[in-house]
């Protein structure tokens, strides 16, 4: 059998709880919503992204009651939030189907439902815009648009962009060095895409209504006609990938692709705490979506406090939570893991969105 297949099967069947046996330790798996609760007494299970965590059960072994060795927070104002995202998050935008949200700034127009309606001010900008991360290298900004009274719309990254005829499905003017496509979808919708070269490194993307096939023309709306905006995506690369719906900063989903949970401590005052059930010395690993980190020879006394937050994990280097990003899982075990165990553990969490060791 192919070695890669064997490795995948081993990882697929691997459960970090199997590392413990009779060894003391703790394992908190934020990727698995079934071990998480909204309150610190484990009375109300976590049910959805954007909720705060009051308790995370220890999964290193069967605990009874479930609050035993669980990290918890009694104060509502100090609880980290839980979110979910696919293993690979591509869409750099947020609120990608709710253009009424404040994440989309509006200029000379307003949004109701999916419709952006330019106002009666004579201006060159009747638009929505959003500031996001800037991809390294080439990028694609695309949106699904529908005619609602204006024939032309443009997609821009900073001052660069392309105009689209969303009545007839034709690409209009494009700024130098870029390309654009328009694809007819169902119900009169068009997938309009602007492909920008590496040189276009601007954080702001814009969706404009245009008076003609040239971007940046001045006009005044009638306050009635508009542009329907269904969804939008900005991503690195030169191809249009599957759409990722970003409901908000804590909820990213993609059709046919699993999303994995994480906590996002605010790095200010969010803390989950437990009491060490027994003394231990060994490895502590934190798996984050940006990176993962393992540190060795960390000792805890029985009855000592073990905390996740505000910026580190008890016993680990200062600021470790700042460097790993959203936390998918944390494991503290009372022995040194072998090289193979570390690799398997990392693979388990990389399959759930974690980054490589740092």
């Amino acid at each position: 059998m192919d070695q890669a297949v064997i490795r995948r099967r081993r990882v697929g069947g691997f459960n970090p709880a199997g590392l413990f046996g009779s060894t003391e330790g703790l394992w908190f798996n934020f990727a698995d919503i079934s071990s998480l609760y909204q309150d610190n007494l484990a009375a109300t299970p976590l049910t959805a992204p954007d909720q705060s965590i009051g308790l995370a059960a220890d999964r290193s072994r069967v605990r009874s009651p479930i609050t035993t060795a669980a990290v918890a927070q009694a104060s509502a104002g100090l609880r980290p939030k839980w979110g979910r995202a696919p293993k690979v998050k591509r869409n750099l935008l947020t609120w990608t189907e709710d253009f009424t949200n404040a994440a989309w700034a509006k200029a000379n127009g307003s949004v109701s439902g999916t419709r952006f309606t330019p106002n009666t001010t004579a201006a060159v900008q009747h638009r929505l815009d959003q500031v996001s991360a800037i991809p390294a290298g080439p990028q694609v900004f695309w949106a699904e648009l529908k005619y609602a009274g204006y024939q032309w719309a443009s997609l821009r990254i900073g001052a660069e962009g392309a105009a689209f005829d969303i009545l007839n499905g034709v690409v209009g003017g494009i700024t130098s060095g870029a390309t654009a496509t328009i694809t007819s979808l169902a119900n009169g919708n068009y997938l309009c895409a602007f492909f920008a070269p590496s040189a276009v490194a601007n954080a702001t993307i814009r969706i404009n209504v245009e008076p003609s096939d040239t971007i940046g023309g001045q006009f005044a709306g009638n306050g009635i006609n508009g542009l329907d905006i269904i969804r939008a995506q900005r991503e690195a690369g030169s191809t249009i990938n599957s759409y990722q719906k970003v409901t908000n900063a804590f909820d990213v989903t993609e059709s046919g692709v699993p999303s994995y949970g994480f906590i996002r401590p605010d790095l200010v005052d969010d803390v989950l705490t437990t009491t060490m059930p027994a003394a231990q010395t060994g490895d502590v690993a934190v798996f984050g979506r940006t990176a993962s980190r393992i540190e060795s020879g960390i000792s805890y006394l029985s009855g000592a406090s073990f905390s996740i937050g505000a910026t580190t994990v008890t016993g680990m280097s200062a600021g470790v939570l700042s460097s790993v990003g959203d936390v998918v899982g944390i494991l503290a075990i009372g022995r040194a893991l072998t090289t193979a165990e570390k690799a398997t553990l990392l693979a388990y969490y990389q399959a759930r969105g974690a980054g490589a060791w740092i």
Partner: protein, 129 residues
């Protein structure tokens, strides 16, 4: 939908603010961030959290002037509608009006977590001790 909030209370009001928070079901000791306006003594305590519209409705019911939190009349009208729809009407804990009169509520839809906290400290010329 939640909004990032930084709640700042002058140091003498910390116990009262925690008592009000506990009476509202927030649990104990929510104000854990020591802040200073002179860089030496703790003059204020803060809590960075996320709040729902229902929280703002309770603030409104307790007499908090939401324009102090930077909210527009239109946004306050939305909160008022949230309050009007709450059944039963929220119970305002004893001492809430005194605490709220001293409290700064800083809201943000665009900044979150440490970024929001740092922005607020910058605006108010405060440092974390």
């Amino acid at each position: 939908m939640t909004t990032s909030a930084v709640l700042i209370i002058p140091a003498p009001y910390k116990a009262g603010a925690n008592a009000v928070g506990e009476a509202m079901g927030w649990g104990p000791d929510n104000y854990t961030i020591p802040l200073s306006t002179d860089g030496e003594t703790v003059t204020h305590w803060a809590c960075r959290t996320d709040v729902q519209p229902s929280f703002l409705a309770i603030l409104l019911a307790a007499g908090y002037d939401l324009t102090r939190a930077g909210m527009t009349p239109e946004q306050i009208a939305v909160v008022q509608a949230e309050l009007d729809a709450m059944t039963p009407a929220p119970v305002i804990p004893p001492g809430a009006s005194t605490v709220l009169a001293a409290m700064d509520v800083c809201l943000s839809e665009s900044l979150w977590g440490i970024d929001h906290m740092q922005a607020v400290m910058g605006e108010k010329n405060m440092v974390r001790l």
